[in-house]
Symmetry: C2
Subunit: 706 residues, 2 copies
């Protein structure tokens, strides 16, 4: 992909004298960024555009040209491609082509799709690397290339690179960054468009290898092979932060699934789980995306998660305390007694120091010098990993003077310790702090509009420390067994499912098949009382709704009576039902959990664990992973459940056997990733006993490909 | 309180020539706002300040003075008060006093508290209404008063009034509003400081009566009589929106409570429930507070909650769809077939119209005229209650031209229909859209930085429609039975609690007391099997943790054996325990719910309902109200539970008897508001049967004042 970022010579086909045309603005942007190579407008009807000599065709260009930017409408493209083919035959250059306009497959028309196929074939046949169509191209602030037609991009170099599946969203990001007191720097920007040629995964891997890229941002709408995207992202995230804004959260999601697991595995839930597993930071809003990328590029990695909040404004300080306390990634720092004493000595009387812990309010009488001294003192404390500061300019304290003082203090502190820590000043008074923010940002310290945004960015830096480790482990994930055939799904009965589960080493509560009430009574005696009884039919996945289940049966007569009652109830509600007899099963006590899995068309096999029972889909307290997982990963999944404290033994109850539960998760994940015929599986509930007592599935719903 | 907002004559004591002193800036702000009365600097060492003749004392002022602003340090105040007393004796004016500086009770010192008491006594004795100390005073943009020393407030008149318990937070709000492309207008601003004299509730009631105030914002840290604050707010919210930013969410909360209800009733949970009950909009962030107030003042009330999203930018459109879909208050509009046809006719080819419903993307080729025509078409559709628009300026579409076109279209639409609907344009490209935003806002249409923020503001407008109704009903809430005595709490055993509950008409599962195993066996036979058995001790509120409970006992021998086992278990773990015998109780099946209440020191009696059982505190699926509640309000509480669908009969299970559950909530709320000795009450679980079958408490924990 170097051809897009370091082209010797670039031609703009469809160049225009009209300022409101992309074919004009691309030339202007190339000039604005300071493109160092030859820049050629191509338009047979003009002689000069934007001060550059204009050429009638690509074949007419005198010097080597590596990159062509197409700004002509789709209908005019075939003529250009002929010219391009001729150029390539004659000169052998033009390794890269960017097609800016739309009119291709994104229109949803037959004509558009055919055009796109032609373009794809042309580039493949001629060995040209293509970007687009329907994209705004690339920017590289280091090598000085800008093939977009955006207005007003500030070409501030920096370390962030950004991949966008939407040109407009990229424009939003770049225009916002360019509007800040000091424009946010970035390295490369790639608008992917319809992904003919360069696709998302390739571009991500390429930027992953780019030494000048310190962090990668991505706007993601979707990708057909999500598993490949995520495993590639894991490889990149092991080395540098990958921050993704994934949209489509509100999609209707998957259609009818037989299992709880299938119903819970909407595409967004799977993306969310896979991001976590693969070490990708997910941003929920544009602000979070922008702030996190900026912070990743400009702030040092925090040594830990202990944050100190300093302020001279009471109310905003309480507000910020709430904002920081709401972030589970962060905790408030506890400073040394010597730090506390020193703060008390240097700050104004009536300052509130470390009440509560990790917080100081020096009151509105705090001077620049007092701010600076407090910052140095805090950064020197080994218990402080990061400092967030709030500033509202007052009569007594201008934002510019404070910014200058803080900058010096931060530099002194860095020189003294050599160990940089993140410092996140929030300057919160709109236009009254523009100059103060510019000063700090020119000094290399990012500033924030609100403490909420600063806290979120810091929390993401902290989170990345753990995610990088996850990314390293996830890089080993394979591509997974293929997707299931669309047709021919078959729901197995419990009688069919249990032997399969047992063959995979998954513990099932003791059970016996029975064909009638008498057999059931005998089976119950073999198992020992109390028992459960279930009638079985392939058409009855939710047995308890239909009266087909009886629990806690305490003797052979009770079992026989229960069989008769259940059969009558089922026949009354579903006279057409194909009843295949039933089974008797030991009653097992324990915490009700669910372990399940589905084979997803985009993600391949995924495994789930969560709180089981009838409220599973209601409380949605579940955790997903791409399968297979090992014992440690299964333990991490269980660790993500909100109900973890209950499982670990809240209120003096004995802890549950979470090791045994993790083993079931591992076994289910292996089963799914090894047996491509297994489409959906619910073990719900798995009854988890006290620690050391193991766990056993007491119900199973299994869907296989027919 | 008129004296602060319409003073004939205002004196600033402690006036200064030094621009960085409050005593100077107050004069500048009074001049900037255009104060129409006489303005007197008072300072014995100066002759003129800010172009105004300076006076040595209050008694020396020639004309009537209604308001005095004190800008002298606390230590100099006694001398000023003597002067003030003399003035009041001689001239009878000066009805209002604002004390700006701190140094009073907020310092936490004995000296500060004594000073504050002196100030309070002085004002009370002389009949002077006092605001502060430790505050920044008031602003009134209509009557042109500004006693603050803030920098750069734009005195743009508008309908919002704001009450702040923090001067700095008020400054944040006003400086942010003043920094927008067009400053946000407001009517009155009051900084409350230490609330000597004017307190929060009085100020709120006063602004509630102010006809020029259309919406009230409040920054709230806390108020000792929260119940009084909230019932006053209900009276105001029945007429105009009250939007509150309440901080202190992260407070450690209440100390040890015996009951689940007590443990869940942290002060923030009670504020949250009371806001909802009393019709107060709670904003979670500064942005939400500012956007909601601005929207309340400038947007018409939406006729319903159906929103249409129009955009010319694909990616940002998908992003905005997620943002709007995440707001439960809103739904996407379904337009008439004729609207859809008209949109298709006027918009560019390949526009995506109503795919998905309530959404159109006219692609980047949409012109100003097409935007305008689409807006008019949508506003005319009876199925559309509000329109959100996204704009990113492009080469082809400038923000200013678009703004002008939209403004005209909106006005035409209003003239044609006469029924205004909210229109919320989001202009999202930083400095490239400043002029466009200014144009729209000068035309009366608020603009938004992101679709998230627009959606949130619109959702709050929609929410207010329902809240206003709640506010009307809540205005009838009394002050509640008083707070409990701090000492002498006593936990009742179930044996003591059940008769009291039954006397209040609360259904309890059938029970019999027993002193030993033999009595228990006999009692069980009277009740009928199966039964539960519980040993009772005043020191054992969580019986099941100690082995003191046995369930599902199925015959007299089993009961007797269970008694022996339970007694041995309890004695083994707690040899010191005062065992008072036990009870036998019928086993009741049903959904496990909790109904409870506490008497809170700030809120008085409050009632709670939620999902019961051992996971109550874990899932926190509960709803609170100030007690008493009626049947309808109890039903609304149940309606707020996340588990509602399960209770209503998800998955074909029969619905639960929610009417009976509501009756228990009503009875508990009456019990609490009538019996001041009742401090905490948990009925957990209340077993709720199928509809028509009623419900019964099977466990009770009751704390009374000793």
């Amino acid at each position: 992909m170097d051809v897009f970022f370091r082209p010797r010579g670039c031609a703009v086909v469809g160049a225009s004298r009209e300022p409101r045309k992309p074919g004009h603005q691309v030339l202007r942007n190339m000039q604005a960024v300071g493109y160092p190579g030859n820049l050629y407008p191509v338009n047979p009807r003009e002689t000069a555009i934007a001060g550059l000599g204009c050429y009638p065709s690509l074949t007419a260009l005198p010097e080597p040209v590596d990159l062509v930017v197409l700004c002509v409408p789709a209908a005019a493209v075939p003529g250009v491609l002929e010219d391009l083919a001729a150029r390539r035959r004659e000169r052998g250059d033009v390794g890269g082509l960017i097609t800016t306009p739309g009119g291709y497959a994104e229109t949803g028309t037959e004509e558009g799709r055919a055009r796109q196929a032609d373009l794809e074939r042309f580039c493949r046949d001629l060995g040209i690397l293509h970007l687009g169509p329907n994209c705004i191209g690339v920017i590289d602030n280091r090598n000085r290339v800008d093939t977009t037609f955006l207005l007003g991009t500030a070409h501030q170099p920096g370390g962030v690179s950004f991949l966008s599946q939407s040109g407009a969203l990229g424009a939003w990001l770049l225009q916002s960054w360019s509007s800040r007191p000091r424009p946010v720097g970035f390295n490369r920007f790639v608008s992917l468009g319809n992904m003919v040629g360069v696709d998302l995964v390739e571009a991500l891997a390429y930027l992953g290898e780019d030494p000048a890229t310190t962090a990668i941002g991505m706007y993601l709408e979707g990708y057909p092979d999500a598993r490949r995207l995520l495993t590639t992202a894991a490889g990149v995230a092991a080395r540098k932060p990958v921050v993704v804004l994934k949209v489509g959260v509100s999609d209707a999601g998957r259609t009818a699934a037989a299992s709880h697991t299938g119903a819970l595995a909407g595409s967004d839930e799977l993306y969310d789980a896979a991001f976590r597993q693969c070490g990708v930071l997910r941003a929920r809003t544009m602000e979070e995306l922008m702030d996190t990328l900026h912070a990743c590029d400009t702030l040092p990695e925090p040594p830990g998660n202990r944050v100190f909040l300093m302020t001279h404004a009471g109310g905003p300080g309480v507000y910020a305390t709430d904002a920081l306390a709401s972030l589970p990634e962060l905790e408030f720092a506890q400073v040394l007694p010597s730090t506390r004493d020193r703060l008390r000595a240097i700050l104004p009387p009536f300052s509130s120091v470390c009440r509560p812990e990790g917080h100081l309010d020096m009151t509105a009488s705090g001077t620049v010098e007092q701010h600076a001294a407090a910052l140095e003192t805090l950064l020197a404390d080994p218990g402080v990993d990061a400092v967030v500061l709030l500033d509202l300019p007052t009569l007594f304290l201008s934002a510019e003077e404070l910014a200058a003082g803080l900058l010096e203090a931060y530099r002194r502190s860095l020189a003294a310790s050599g160990r940089p820590k993140p410092f996140l000043p929030c300057l919160m008074a709109g236009k009254w702090v523009v100059e103060g923010r510019r000063l700090l940002e020119e000094g290399g310290i990012p500033t924030f509009e609100t403490p909420d945004r600063a806290g979120r960015a810091l929390a993401n830096l902290v989170r990345y420390r753990a995610l990088r480790e996850a990314a390293r482990r996830a890089a080993a994930l394979g591509s997974g067994a293929g997707a299931p055939a669309a047709a021919g799904r078959r729901v197995l009965t419990e009688l069919e499912a249990y032997p399969r589960l047992e063959a995979w080493g998954i513990a099932v509560a003791r059970w016996r098949a029975a064909r009638d009430a008498a057999e059931a009574a005998r089976a119950a005696q073999e198992i020992g009382f109390p028992v459960a009884l279930k009638l079985v039919s392939p058409d009855l996945p939710h047995k308890s709704d239909a009266g087909a289940v009886a629990l806690d049966l305490d003797g052979p007569e009770e079992v026989a009576r229960a069989w008769e009652r259940a059969e009558a109830a089922v026949r009354a509600h579903h006279p057409e039902l194909d009843l295949r007899g039933g089974l008797v099963q030991e009653m097992v006590r324990g915490r009700e959990m669910i372990v399940g899995g589905v084979r997803d068309p985009q993600f391949g096999p995924v495994v789930m664990v969560g709180m089981g029972g009838v409220l599973t889909e209601h409380f949605r307290d579940v955790s997903f992973r791409l399968a297979p997982v090992d014992h440690r990963q299964a333990g991490e999944m269980i660790g993500e459940l909100e109900a973890l404290p209950v499982l670990q033994g809240a209120r003096g109850r004995p802890p549950a056997d979470l090791d045994a539960l993790a083993e079931v998760v591992v076994a289910v994940s292996r089963y799914l990733s090894t047996a491509p015929g297994l489409v959906e599986l619910d073990l719900n509930p798995v009854m988890v006993g006290e620690r050391g007592r193991g766990c056993r599935a007491v119900d199973a719903l299994m869907v296989v490909s027919g």
